[in-house]
């Protein structure tokens, strides 16, 4: 295990940001801390980095107790949401900062910086200042800067949160590739479930300062531990008082075992997918079907269809 967090608690005044949080992050993995804003995920990341000290519990990094270690001795790389670029230094000097602090020989620094700038595709911007770069470029620079000191763990706090959608998508794929190249244990914070599912090997879902569930993206999606995790990781709708994924609702034109009659309120075509809003008894339910299914069944507004849950779904928690 690369990072072990044990029973960590942290309060800011009356607000308990973290309550007895325990997480283990395996070496070389790419883990997402996922949860709604104010759920404690950033605080947990900052506790791991040493930027906040926990009130209770401890942190272990690569087998070493790091609870009392100041940030500069932890061997972590940290990437901030708003880049935290050193504005008065060029890209090159930004990346070299950690190495200069460690008083490495000049030639070595130069070589290492060149290598890293190549890795993040910023070779031609080495002599620019951060203000002359776009958001995406700045964030790549921040990543190179964090990687320069060869950290044991790389921590990213909503790294793509301040970027526009297009750049964010590009950088996500790029981060995934980078991790496959560098293999450094990486933890990133996000509130975007799609980002977490796309990039991470494993996801830690957090809410209200507690860990709700830990698992691979598939495990969390298919076997959520509770309603919160289920509704946070993808769309849900309610059928017979239970949470169901809209694509797990089957539609038929005639009755089948276990089906319930439903009235089609509205059909919305979203390209390949079609959203069908239904009324089942008193409940409003929506189903997600493909275009093919829709045409095959001839579903249209005002018709009555018969619905049931496709896959066995766990009973909703009380």
């Amino acid at each position: 295990m690369s990072i072990i967090v044990r029973d960590v608690g942290k309060s800011f005044g009356d607000f308990a940001a973290l309550t007895d949080v325990s997480v283990e992050i395996p070496t070389g993995s790419l883990t997402a801390l996922l949860g709604p804003s104010g759920g404690g995920k950033s605080t947990l990341l900052r506790v791991i980095a040493g930027l906040e000290s926990p009130d209770t519990g401890g942190v272990e990094i690569e087998g070493r107790d790091a609870t009392r270690l100041p940030a500069q001795d932890r061997g972590v790389g940290f990437v901030f949401q708003h880049y935290a670029a050193f504005k008065h230094l060029t890209v090159q000097r930004n990346v070299a900062f950690g190495l200069e602090i460690r008083k490495r020989p000049k030639a070595e620094i130069k070589e290492k910086v060149r290598e890293l700038l190549e890795l993040v595709h910023l070779e031609q911007f080495a002599h620019r200042y951060p203000a002359q770069l776009s958001g995406g470029q700045r964030q790549r620079m921040a990543l190179a800067r964090a990687l320069a000191v060869e950290p044991q763990v790389l921590l990213l706090d909503e790294p793509f949160g301040a970027l526009d959608a297009q750049v964010r998508k590009e950088l996500r794929a790029w981060l995934r590739r980078l991790h496959d190249q560098v293999h450094v244990t990486t933890v990133f914070v996000t509130h975007d479930q799609e980002e977490a599912m796309e990039v991470a090997d494993s996801i830690v879902v957090m809410a209200q300062g507690k860990v709700e569930q830990v698992g691979s993206p598939d495990e969390l999606y298919d076997a959520p531990a509770n309603d919160f995790v289920m509704s946070f990781l993808g769309p849900v709708t309610k059928l017979d008082g239970q949470l169901v994924r809209p694509h797990d609702i089957e539609l038929f034109t005639e009755t089948r075992p276990d089906t319930t009659p439903a009235l089609v309120d509205r059909v919305t075509r979203l390209g390949f997918e079609v959203r069908v809003d239904l009324t089942v008894g008193e409940e409003e339910v929506w189903a997600q079907v493909t275009r093919g299914t829709l045409d095959q069944l001839g579903i249209e507004e005002g018709r009555t269809v018969h619905v049931r849950r496709a896959a066995p779904v766990r009973a909703a928690a009380v």
Binding site: A71, Q72, R74, F78, Y83, A84, F86, A142
Partner: protein, 129 residues
């Protein structure tokens, strides 16, 4: 002492908003990269506020030039020891030595204008706007 007391707020006024604007992200980043508190201050904080700091100091210096009241009360006005130029102007004037008084006053005016010019040059962009 008295002059420092009345002029230090000018330095603080110039530096504080800049510090507030840059936040502590850069300092935290420096810490995670292995810099200690002193290194962080010298390599990150100081360069970021250098412009504002210099601006504040010049402004404070200009303010100090004209300081009369605070110094007059505290210093005791010992000629040649705790006498500042403003006090000198007053002393000379009261002694009917108008020429010296005017010369010193002119010197003060010129220095003040120079200081103002320098402060315009140094003023951080945020303050000019």
């Amino acid at each position: 002492m008295a002059t420092i007391f009345v002029s230090i707020p000018l330095v603080v006024r110039a530096v504080a908003p800049v510090l507030e604007e840059i936040g502590d992200d850069q300092e935290q980043a420096a810490r995670t990269l292995g810099a200690g508190p002193v290194q962080t201050f010298r390599r990150i904080t100081l360069p970021s506020i250098r412009g504002a700091l210099a601006y504040g100091v010049v402004l404070a210096a200009a303010r100090s030039l004209g300081e009369y009241g605070a110094v007059a009360v505290v210093s005791g006005r010992l000629v040649g020891r705790t006498q500042t130029v403003t006090l000198l102007v007053q002393e000379r004037y009261l002694n009917f030595d108008q020429e010296t008084a005017y010369a010193c006053a002119l010197l003060l005016v010129v220095t003040a204008v120079l200081a103002l010019g320098v402060s315009r040059l140094l003023a951080p962009k945020e303050i000019k706007r």
